[in-house]
Symmetry: C2
Subunit: 391 residues, 2 copies
Amino acid sequence: MENFVFYSPTYFLFGKNEEEKAGKYVRRFGGSKVMVHFGGGSVKRSGLLDRVEASLAAEGIAYVELGGVRPNPRSGLVYEGIELCRREGVDFILAVGGGSTIDSAKAIAAGVVYEGDFWDYYQDKPVEKALPVGTVLTIAAAGSEGSPDSVITKEDGMFKRGASGEALRPVFSILNPALTQTLPPYQTACGITDIMAHLLERYFTNTKDVEVTDRLLEGLLLTMVHEAPRVIADPDNYEARANIMWAGMMAHNNSCGVGREQDWASHAIEHELSAVYDCAHGAGLAVVFPAWMTYNMKHDINRFAQLAVRVWGCQMDFAHPEVTAKAGIDSFQRFLKSIGMPVDFAELGAKEDDIPAMAHNACYGDGGCGEIGGFVKLKEQDVVNIYKLMI
Amino acid sequence: MENFVFYSPTYFLFGKNEEEKAGKYVRRFGGSKVMVHFGGGSVKRSGLLDRVEASLAAEGIAYVELGGVRPNPRSGLVYEGIELCRREGVDFILAVGGGSTIDSAKAIAAGVVYEGDFWDYYQDKPVEKALPVGTVLTIAAAGSEGSPDSVITKEDGMFKRGASGEALRPVFSILNPALTQTLPPYQTACGITDIMAHLLERYFTNTKDVEVTDRLLEGLLLTMVHEAPRVIADPDNYEARANIMWAGMMAHNNSCGVGREQDWASHAIEHELSAVYDCAHGAGLAVVFPAWMTYNMKHDINRFAQLAVRVWGCQMDFAHPEVTAKAGIDSFQRFLKSIGMPVDFAELGAKEDDIPAMAHNACYGDGGCGEIGGFVKLKEQDVVNIYKLMI
């Protein structure tokens, strides 16, 4: 195991009606003037925004609103938010929504207290200072509610890039599984795929002797395998929603990924798809991950076989472990299809002609060094080959 | 899943040589006058105490020492520590040792800033205020390095009782697996048993639909099953030590036990054994837990069968699930024996004649209500029966 630091000081409130405490926790964590950040109209229509704002008012906390966050959140709205926060003297940002809203809130929080262009942080500058961010989560997926990360798409060039830093961990996050019950099955499945991808990015490692994190990651994957069909069959299943929601946080706060090299090439490959076609991140990952696995299986057959046996219940073929490894990938792909995820370029609306540009961008775009991935180092031609497996 | 709060703001530094940063992190978390708290001479003989104190000196931080913590830490030393801290104007306590040292440090930290008797906290008063505590961990076992708990034995009556409160979470904990390599096999096995007991106390629950925490707890149990024989065979196996050390923290910081009722009767039953016979807590648990399981198996056969199948690799007997459940308990007991743990009263040096008094104390001692356990509510006669299964 490699040396590591783990620091996850987010205060989690989990369960029914917990969003009613938002105002109390903004107060506890020092907020006196809040920007409430959200996406489209669904949090308004559902009455969630009203409830959250009523809890701020009950604490005598002033607030301004900034809506309009869209999936694959954009830099334009971040600049607008930074302006608004400075003009209004905002000292706390409360994100009400999913990963996109939280990531946008984090970008604004970092940008408000930074003299330069916030995009610097999305080009490898660690975030050391930001306004405090609280969240009320409405979709189990990104894990941004407990992570030190944010992903933003820069409209000028459509680059999708990430920033990171302990200052980006939310000070509190409210996770009420009931708020996710209104999500349509497709978005629910996208969230489930995103969570599984976060686990697999950590799972594929060259670090030896990492039984504890292997077992934790497998445990969370098994949870998704168990809960996904239940929630797709019955979107109102609170218990399945609850298990998925905590798994989504645990998948990405990194307590299960510490001390091991991680991969993250599939995320880079997917980011091009969602930047170019504006598809849901989870849907893109459903197409990318099995292709990435097939292409890289030979790098460590036994790791793929372990996943197949422990998570997908495949029988180990001791004479031909590659058969087991492949059976695991097939099981994963069948699972993704069964919950309604796309399996290829056609279903995503992606085009073969765009492959060279996307592969180039994934490897070199906006400051890239030409190589992606920790488990297998992929060059541009490898990425081309992986995209071709998705056709 | 039940509603819950999860807040674990401890800063973890994990890996080789990390203890050299102790001074830096005391500084970061506001300490200017430290009490270094430790147990016997082993931290002196190994040079660890010198290294830690050198790191304080390098930061210009003054310190006083208080050694002498023993396993099953006593209230007498806590009172002494409180006096010392007040006299010396200590504002930070640095525990260098195992769970006993950390628990003693937590008790002192709470007592220093409390006007009443610190023992009040060990009689159900939540700890809301304490000096900051940092830890340099030397044994993977108690999980106190990441927990809000402390267990102390009151010499007057030999009551062993716990206190809890968010203020008791260490502000930082340094986990260097290499520091545990000098532990003798018996103490190592006691630590492993303690970790598994923390997982099982959470595993046995009446809360339904808790797949995510079930799977995480099983993952950590599987880690112990894999790593324990490796470390018993080769105490210098750094990688096995590392996996066990992170599992020990994860087992008890409660990220894998949230939202579910827990049991904890076995701990109460064991506390009498270690209070009366001063045996190692882990050794006591090795004797208690299989007996508790055998006695309570019928309460939820399928939960015991699930554990047997998922952790112990037993074949499910669908016609007779109780056979599978029993096979799991047998596997657990064989495992404990294989790592050198005692299996009965005789090996512990416990006496049948003491059973009535211990059962009474476990249920009623020092303010008890006459009933223990969340999974199965045990009365005094039940506890007598469970002790008798250990003869």
